[in-house]
Amino acid sequence: MSRAGTKLDSKKVFCMKNILRYDENLYIINSELFTLTYGALVAQLLKDYENVEDVNKQLERMGYNMGIRLIEDFLARTGSGRCYDFRDTAEKIQTGFKIFLGITPTITNWSAAGDEFSLCFEANPLTEFVELPDHCLNLKYCNVLIGVLRGACEMVQMEIACWFVQDQLKNDNVTELRIKFIKRLEDAIPAGED
């Protein structure tokens, strides 16, 4: 094969405009792009950090950063106002999952004080193809979700804590995410206001 000219023909090979073909798979594939990208990220983190705990922490941190942007997206799309109470918050979080991940987790196991509840996932696009290898049993694959929730709630002046109770990747029946209300954050006082 001759490699005569690396100079390009100026002539266009194709005009792409008229071959457009959208199919119904498009959005599913888009979702796969996200799923796979997340998978690649987790794999990269496992390579970069020796300690699985550090990977979990890093995922949470990245989730937090995504959360503070996602909340704006959520508010702009839904036009929703402030939450009346924590139950309202729970429903809004549920809506958020519906919008962004296309899943509707069930809200269960309210604590008596009404400051703690669980979200149960039957399925989760994040883990769609994932099978955890044996050496990563401490890995919290979906830890990014925890970060997202923490970041998003913090932006609407709410401090929460959340953690995984059950995880399908570890052969539990459902994935259960526990969310606890910690406190209301006060409106920030103007910077430099003395």
Binding site: R69, R77, S80, V156, P190, A191, G192
Partner: protein, 198 residues
């Protein structure tokens, strides 16, 4: 809360709003004129301070989470965003005070907070998202219902070109040129602007 706003130095510029003017016709909070709410004179006074304070700022401000557009004279030419730290702080203080004032005099938890106030010279429209972003738009008194426009600004411009721009940090002043451009576009195609320029 009101004493949070301090005039640290006298600002140059006209202070044309008088206390009786405010009491008579200005300051509408959530559609209710102040005097109907039984607001006392002292509150009015406080607002005079605020009004004057704000009137002297004829430019647009953006600090931290704040954006303001001055459309008092020629709507778009002035819609530039920049940081003026001392003025911005004062502005923030004023909005903060009005907000807490409104929530205090409201019998129920106000859903939307304060929407706009009006003086004899200009109207200030205000939109605050639950995440604490504040959008401020100054218009003349003819313009009504700028709220939808502010929401559009949030939804179609801020979200798209700031939140979704990975190079924009949310806790820094917005520097994106594209954002500026889109703000400009949005306002130019807005019916509020078109109806004024005909």
């Amino acid at each position: 809360m009101l004493n949070r706003v301090k005039l640290r130095r006298s600002l140059a510029g006209p202070a044309k709003v008088r206390i009786n003017e405010i009491n008579r016709e200005a300051l509408i909070i959530e559609g209710t004129p102040l005097n109907k709410l039984g607001i006392t004179r002292s509150y009015g006074k406080a607002f005079l301070g605020l009004g004057r304070l704000y009137l002297s700022l004829d430019s647009t401000l953006a600090v931290k989470k704040q954006m303001a557009h001055s459309t008092t004279q020629s709507p778009i030419e002035k819609a530039t965003l920049y940081v003026l730290s001392s003025e911005a702080k004062l502005m923030y203080g004023m909005l903060f005070s009005i907000k807490s004032f409104v929530s205090k005099i409201s019998p129920l938890d106000p859903k939307e907070g304060f929407l706009y106030y009006k003086t004899s010279k200009y109207t200030l429209h205000y939109l605050e998202t639950p995440s604490g972003l504040k959008f401020v738009l100054n218009t003349d008194n003819v313009t009504q219902n700028a709220r939808e426009l502010l929401q559009q600004l949030y939804r179609e411009v801020y979200l798209e070109y700031v939140v979704k721009n990975p190079l924009c940090q949310l806790n820094e002043p917005i520097q994106s040129e594209l954002f500026k451009l889109k703000v400009d576009e949005l306002f130019k195609k807005s019916p509020l602007f078109l109806s004024r320029s005909i």
